[in-house]
């Protein structure tokens, strides 16, 4: 850093007033961002990376305050600046992109208008030129047919498109600093690549500085000049992007890097120290599914069709007229595959490809429109979803959900949640027997037994994930559907949960259907992989074959979109 830094954060401490006194979310950190530099702030949840950026633009919520330290932005003291000065700086000098683009846009205002609002607010355009400038801004973020999109509402655009509009909004006033807070979390890998390429290109071309806040080390390394690693409110390491991967200095950085799934790793490599191998199970090679043994589940020509939403004019919709010739929309369009006993099958695809619909049909939460699902010789697709709860097969197909918070009843303790399937389908003889079984399950998934009496909001993300897993395996199911079980978890927690899942599978002899968009994770856990797109299977085969030597162009596209740290 030779030239004076554009943004200089020194000795910054941010405090939050809570019921149990002040909590320091950020502790005496120093970060500087030079002109035209792209800096990544990387850390897991709770590291204070977002709070730092909120402090910079002074949008901390009411309980938070800058307790100590200084933030100076091209000579202006942002801690002492008046609210009026800040309003001027936000948007014009420093702008921000948030995680959920749809939430960042006003849902009932045309996107073009929203860009105009910003231009007019900061006197970048007059009423007569605003429309033209807004269309130019849309064009710059590579939105095709910007004149038409000007009139679109956010719900009419995809997630990636919305994020582009947000970028257009953020860059509309030519700010000097862009803060992107997890800009691609929740977007598909291919969209993520497009959005990140766009951000980097646009900011380079304008000589802007960027702060990228992310939990993904690979993303940070691929797009940033410098990486700042934060842990529990402190900066533990600052280094050039290349250097941090070649020679991480701090143990936390090393742990984080190790937990990030990459090519050529094994599942156990994710953990800081190799755990004691489980008896013989871990060492034993996976038994290949023998040809003569019938598969545990055979899915044939599975279809789920939904009627298309009413189209046509408002008047026609009001009158209830619908074009009758509209074919129904097929979310899942005739797919066939099988799951062998003891196998982990990966189901991969981007959002909207039908993978979740497929998993819901297999778990019998929704009814298929056509096709059969034969589970252990019984066509369970023929049993209506409503009645499947009473079927003896119910206990043999279970599921681990994507969002561990959403999938736990906020009013049930961990024990009650784990006990639910047991109470419904295999009532124990006594309360003590139930408690004993819950404790056994908790131990199995590595949940401290004393946490069983807590409510979900008193548990961490990883602990909630364990409760969800314990509930799914409570009745020793044969097939467990894992619906992005680690998507909402930090990488280090993900590493532990993935290893736990693998260990449980080996110990209990279950089969997994692993639904995910993260190919690196699928590579680690799965024996075979199915790639889906628009409701159909694009490619299937063994994990090594599909991910090592993909045949379909789409699979290759997915693989190249994953950000790889420089080797």
């Amino acid at each position: 850093m030779s030239a004076p830094a554009l943004l200089e954060i020194s000795d910054l401490t941010v405090e939050f007033a809570t019921r149990r006194g002040a909590v320091q979310a950020v502790k005496a950190i120093d970060i500087s961002v030079g002109k035209g530099e792209t800096v990544a702030i990387v850390g897991e949840s709770g590291s204070g990376k977002s709070v730092t950026s909120y402090a910079v633009v002074r949008i901390l919520d009411r309980a938070g305050r800058v307790a100590e330290g200084a933030i100076s932005f091209s000579g202006i003291d942002l801690v002492a600046a008046s609210e009026a000065q800040m309003r001027d700086i936000r948007g014009r000098e420093i702008s921000m992109i948030f995680q959920n683009p749809r939430a960042a846009l006003n849902p009932i205002r045309k996107v073009g208008r929203q860009i105009e609002d910003v231009l007019l607010q900061h006197v970048q355009a007059t009423r007569s030129t605003a429309r033209q400038k807004a269309i130019e801004a849309l064009d710059k973020v590579r939105i095709a047919r910007p004149e038409e999109r000007y009139d679109a509402y956010p719900f009419e655009l995809s997630g990636g498109m919305c994020q582009r509009v947000v970028i257009a909004l953020a860059l509309a006033c030519q700010p000097q600093l862009l803060i992107a807070d997890e800009p691609t979390t929740g977007l598909d890998v291919t969209t993520q690549k497009a959005v990140m390429d766009l951000i980097v290109e646009l900011t380079r071309e304008r000589g802007m500085s960027t702060i990228l806040i992310t939990h993904d080390l690979g993303l940070a390394a691929a797009y940033c000049d410098r990486v700042v690693v934060m842990e529990k409110g402190r900066v533990v390491e600052t280094a050039e992007a290349g250097a941090i991967f070649r020679a991480p200095q701090h143990p936390y950085t090393r742990k984080l890097m190790q937990a990030t799934p990459r090519i050529g790793m094994r599942l156990r490599d994710l953990l800081p120290e190799a755990p004691a191998p489980l008896a013989s199970a871990a060492a034993a090679p996976r038994a290949p599914a023998s040809a003569e043994e019938p598969p545990l589940m055979q899915v044939t020509d599975l279809v789920k069709a939904y009627p298309r939403p009413a189209s046509g004019s408002v008047m026609a919709r009001l009158l209830g007229r619908q074009e009758a010739d509209q074919p129904p929309f097929r979310a899942v369009d005739g797919i066939s595959f099988s799951v062998a006993r003891g196998e982990t099958l990966g189901l991969v695809g981007e959002s909207g490809c039908g993978k979740s619909t497929t998993s819901m049909m297999i778990t019998r939460l929704i009814d298929p429109s056509a096709g059969s699902i034969v589970f252990d010789g019984v066509d369970i697709g023929a049993i209506p979803a409503r009645r499947f709860a009473a079927s003896p097969l119910r206990r043999r197909i279970q599921m681990v959900f994507q969002d561990p918070t959403d999938s736990l009843n906020p009013r049930f303790t961990a024990e009650r949640a784990i006990a639910d399937p047991i109470l419904q389908m295999n009532p124990p003889t006594s309360r003590d027997a139930l408690r004993a079984r819950c404790e056994e399950l908790a131990t199995l998934v590595g949940l401290p037994v004393e946490l069983l009496d807590r409510f979900p909001h008193q548990l961490s993300g990883g602990q909630k994930a364990r409760v969800g897993i314990a509930r799914a395996i409570a009745l020793n199911p044969d097939l467990v559907i894992l619906d992005e079980p680690t998507a909402a978890l930090d990488v280090s927690v993900q590493a532990v949960v993935l290893n736990l899942l693998q260990e449980l599978k080996e110990r209990l002899g279950m089969s997994y259907l692993f639904v995910s968009h993260d190919l690196n994770v699928v590579r680690l856990l799965c024996d075979r992989v199915i790639v889906m797109r628009s409701g159909a299977i694009v490619e299937q085969g063994t994990a090594e074959a599909v991910l090592g030597d993909p045949q379909a162009a789409y699979t290759r596209e997915l693989l190249t979109a994953i950000p790889h740290p420089p080797a």
Binding site: G186, H215, M399, D403, N409, K464, E484, A488
Partner: protein, 300 residues
């Protein structure tokens, strides 16, 4: 499907949570955070006390007339003054609390059961149940509600029971709609799906997963409609329906006193009116406080 929310988003504040505190300590914290809630709880305690013990504590018989002492202003002997028959207004206001409170509680309990159950069933199952419940609510909403209540009491007969029924009926759409919306949102929640996988039947899902989670909202709703129910009962009595004189009841007392305001005897209508206002005010404030108290998220 990729639209996950990162669970530990605002992690700065999320440390290892302590075991839950006692209800009392929690209530104390809520009150210290928002003193208005404390006032509401205090008023509620007062109303409850008056309803339970009022009749045995009041200085005068609320029905005993004493023509010598008619139309006296507030004094040491008669704190709120006396009415045209010389009855002690303070005693009558206090004694009336029990009746008004009972009507409100009974009607709210009734509509909570009927409207709440109809609403969650409609929201959870959808289909024809939803249509039937929705149309019933629409039909009730189509009437001016107070006029509908008058009509019901007039048709069914002049009794306290019928006031309770009428008040419950006019509040039905409110409960049915709130319960329906809340149940509908939670129908697809992850924990409901998870419970379905655990082998719970539809009715069990409704009762163990959905209903407990919409209780905080329903309790707030109940607190708000309590005030409305008291007002409604008093309104019916005011126009001569429902409770009949000489029973002490706030609405009747205001009606009786109304004609004396012109001649300067303001206290006859003022004090029962004040009691009515205080009760409604209290229940409206109570709503927020009760929500804070029952919401499990607030308990850490």
């Amino acid at each position: 499907m990729n639209d996950m929310t990162r669970v530990e988003m605002e992690p700065a504040l999320r440390f290892d949570a302590p075991p839950s505190t006692s209800l009392f300590a929690h209530a104390r914290h809520i009150v210290s955070e928002n003193p208005v809630t404390g006032v509401a709880f205090g008023l509620f305690g007062l109303i409850l006390f008056a309803a339970l013990f009022g009749p045995s504590l009041v200085p005068y018989d609320p029905l005993a007339s004493d023509t010598n002492a008619a139309l006296q202003g507030p004094s040491r002997a008669h704190w709120f003054g006396t009415d045209q028959l010389g009855r002690d207004i303070f005693s009558r206001v206090i004694v009336a609390t029990r009746l008004d409170f009972t009507i409100a509680v009974a009607s709210v309990a009734l509509v909570f059961l009927l409207g709440g159950l109809a609403g969650v069933t409609a929201g959870f199952f959808g289909g024809w149940v939803d249509k039937v419940v929705g149309r019933i609510a629409d039909t009730i909403m189509a009437f001016p509600l107070f006029v509908l209540a008058m009509g019901i009491v007039a048709a069914l007969g002049n009794s306290v029971t019928n006031i309770v029924i009428a008040t419950a009926i006019i509040n039905f759409p409110l409960y049915a709609r709130v319960a329906r919306a809340e149940a509908n949102v939670r129908r697809e929640a992850g924990f409901v799906r998870a419970a379905r996988l655990s082998g719970n039947s539809d009715w069990r899902l409704l009762l163990t997963q959905i209903v407990p989670n919409i209780m905080p909202i329903m309790v707030v709703q109940m607190s708000l409609t309590m005030g409305y129910a008291i007002l409604n009962a008093a309104g019916l009595s005011f126009i001569g329906l429902g409770v009949r004189p000489p029973t002490p009841e706030w609405g009747i007392m205001v009606a009786e006193g109304a004609s004396f305001i012109v001649s300067g005897e303001w206290w006859i209508a003022f004090f029962p009116g004040l009691a009515l206002m205080t009760a409604v005010f209290c229940f409206n404030l109570l709503g927020d406080g009760v929500r804070d108290l029952v919401d499990p998220q607030r308990r850490t």
